[in-house]
Symmetry: C2
Subunit: 487 residues, 2 copies
């Protein structure tokens, strides 16, 4: 029996009918060439044979005297957690995404351990999809990725136990320990059902300072109340629209090298282009630039094995028609944000967690003026593996994050890097954002635009002007089980 | 715009995370012999072509100043309501029931009209399944059946519009009007989130009278606090186990004729046998008889076109090992209950609705002694069509009701009669009632037992002794669209 941290308890109490607080991954697998027709069925049977999971996967929530505890479930039933599904004919990717949208809208049952893995067959072309969800009180996105990677291998013939059966010695710290431990002392959620923050977190003070910077004349500094109201910032329904697409990492990296910026900058520029186009279609583009909250995992020094997580505010420059100008604005605001928040570890960690999970709460804290927001949406980039990986004998052909929405935050864009691709997962409120499917095409158009910009830069022989500053951080790269010794 | 009745608003407010308040039907269809492989896909496309539904199917809930209203949804999107699914391999009935269990556990999104129809292909043997759910604030089980029947035909070549597109002139009263109107003046749910009943309904007074009867020495009268505590009467999880099986109506009718009792009595005896066996397996059989709450639709006179709905308490005699003795107890208590409640129309209607929906509330009202219940579970028998029917060109081979659970009421047994079968749908809390699958086999054993009893009766040449009284009521029979003129 283990008491829930204050932060994890917050994830339980802040869950709403229209706001489930679980995170997930949609993984696309390519079965071996000689796989028999009942391959998926055999896979489900094998996964279900791991019927005695290890903590936290065998623990369920129990409330005693108003406090939350994780207790081992003596009646653990693997059939509740490993579910076999199939797409109907003709088995298109659109049908798969519609299915994931429905599954992600559905709550986990608190009477059971808070995770579930679906194995989906029937995809035209022969792939198998895994939709794997876990409550945020159990694990966050980064920890979830780590755990999933532990069950993956560089070798197609290696069949490792699934995440819930990876022995503790082969596993890092308990997933949310990463976030929970340092946060515990920083923030307390008061009241059983409110989620009122007693102690203002460091991130709040820091963002206040940024506002002062701005008053002092630094145009690239972002204050905490600069995001304009948009159609993204409305109450949400309980229904979701999930979209996923991969873009070649080689294209993104080549453009970033030519333009002298990071992969993250290019990703933000793609999002900026897509948002601008989408909001023009919807006749809802604000005249002021939209602001993204960007949780970022950075590592400046190879010797630094710990995590440095920063929470940045990025000016997306969506009001600017010129892509070069937009990229300049994005890079300048990210650079400023990085310098501002680099020393802010515990608060930044909270910022990361809170922005992932409770954007409404963060907005409330950061935007004291009614109707003004700290940011319009969360855009994140979860670092993934650099090498091609295999899971249960299948090549991993996609690892798309499925994140969280909240009232006032109807869109989330999360990408995950993988070997040669950047896998984008876009989660939207189905009702609030009509025709949001077009955003995916616009992300691709955004990449085309960046590449045109890079070609122009080569043609004129000089990079797009940017701020002076230290070299930008690279993405941290997580490693699969087989390529990294257990700690 | 139309205001919700007090009863319908109760169904909204009393919904909980672990207690969704929608009802559903699982319908099994046999496509025509010459159906092409993409038959289900074509069916989904045809159903989606009815994209402008009629009230109440185009209305969503809106709260204004604490009151609930049905308002037309100007952005109605048929894709949210008609969903295409498939079973994974090998496509067994168990897989279908597991899928229905998961779907029934999932809430409808209140931002949209509160109904959804799933078309499920991939069943081994070639059937197609329809799982069709509607919130109880929109329609109750009987009204839902009527509406569904309106879109069915006696002729396989007749393809009628689906329920949401049946024109008003061909439809009866608004579904829940049946229940809502007379109840409005009888009961008021006070407080926005409580569900406290201000005016004690008639059913309460009547049951109090029954308790007096019992004190006066009538052993067949059931008081309102006679149900023993059982494992069925515990808090429930949010997960469900749904089971469905058909039994030949001819067998049930033959046995009831020989034994001189009704189809309902035989159904209750089957349930009694199954519950007794299941609770013996679980080492949880109470020494006192279990009591069922039985909403019953009766019609004594062919000329009476209105509805007479009674809510009965039936002593199931689960403490008795002898099947003849059990049947006698069931028949006697049902007979007494019928005579008691026959004149009680508005209250009985409330009893029907409340017992279907709010057994916890009814129990609270009827069982003032702590720990004593008015009944242990709800068993109902929804009258269906007498003739073989077709829907969208497919023969209907099963119409299984999927009802509602509530805290303290972890099991529901609802049967629906259809042409030559009685279709049983059993809904259980997945966590509270382990191995509840065995109940289905035990229902069959229960029917075998009744038939043995009937054979013995024939052998000895006299019926099982029962109470004197008027002839027992027969089930009301609902009619499909094609066989009945519009009112």
């Amino acid at each position: 029996m283990k008491r829930l941290t204050v932060l994890d308890m917050g994830f339980i109490h802040l869950e709403r009918r229209n706001q489930p607080l679980h995170v997930a991954y949609l993984t696309l697998l390519r079965p071996p060439a000689d796989a028999p027709p009942d391959f998926a069925q055999t896979l489900v049977a094998r996964l279900r044979s791991y019927a005695s999971p290890l903590p936290p996967f065998n623990q369920r929530l129990e409330s005693r005297l108003g406090k939350g505890f994780w207790v081992e479930d003596p009646e653990f039933d693997i059939a509740q957690h490993v579910v076999h599904l199939a797409l109907p004919q003709p088995g298109t990717m659109d049908q798969l995404l519609a299915m994931v949208s429905r599954m992600h809208a559905s709550h986990l049952d608190r009477a059971y351990p808070l995770w579930r893995t679906y194995i989906i067959e029937g995809i035209a072309g022969g792939q198998i999809a895994i939709y794997s969800k876990v409550h945020h009180a159990v694990a966050d996105g980064v920890a979830g990725t780590r755990l999933f990677l532990r069950s993956m291998s560089l070798n197609p013939n290696d069949i490792l136990p699934p995440p819930w059966a990876v022995p503790p010695q082969g596993r890092r710290e308990r997933p949310s320990g990463l976030l929970a431990a340092p946060v515990d002392g920083v923030v307390k959620l008061a009241g059983r059902f409110g989620g009122v923050v007693e102690h203002l977190p460091t991130v709040y003070r820091e963002l206040r300072k940024a506002r002062q910077d701005r008053r002092d004349g630094n145009v690239d500094a972002l204050s905490g109340h600069q995001a304009p109201p948009t159609i993204l910032n409305q109450p949400i329904s309980a229904s979701r629209r999930y979209l996923a697409r991969s873009y070649p990492l080689a294209r993104i990296k080549a453009a970033s090298r030519t333009l002298g910026c990071t992969v993250n900058d290019v990703m933000l520029a793609m999002c900026s282009h897509a948002l601008r186009r989408y909001l023009i279609d919807q006749r809802a583009l604000p005249s002021e630039p939209m602001i993204a909250g960007v949780p970022m995992s950075t590592r400046r020094d190879k010797s630094d094995v710990g995590n440095q997580i920063s929470f940045l505010l990025a000016n997306l420059g969506t009001h600017l028609a010129d892509p070069a100008e937009r990229l300049r604005v994005i890079r300048a605001s990210v650079e400023h944000s990085k310098q501002r928040y680099a020393p802010m570890k515990p608060g930044a960690i909270l910022g990361f967690a809170a922005a992932q999970m409770l954007p409404g709460l963060v907005n409330m804290l950061l935007a004291p003026k009614r109707g003004r927001l700290a940011f319009n949406l969360v855009i994140s980039n979860v670092p993934g593996p650099r090498s091609p990986l295999y899971w249960q004998g299948c090549a991993v052909e996609g690892m798309f994050p499925v994140s969280v929405l909240a009232d006032g935050m109807a869109l989330n864009i999360t990408a995950s890097s993988r070997a040669d691709a950047l896998d984008f997962g876009v989660l939207a409120c189905r009702r609030t954002l009509p025709n949001v499917e077009s955003l995916m095409d616009y992300l691709g158009d955004g990449l085309d635009e960046i590449e045109r910009l890079a070609r122009m830069t080569i043609a004129v022989g000089r990079p797009v002007p940017m701020l002076e500053g230290e070299p930008t951080a690279e993405l941290e790269v997580l490693s699969p089980a087989a390529s990294e010794p257990a700690p």
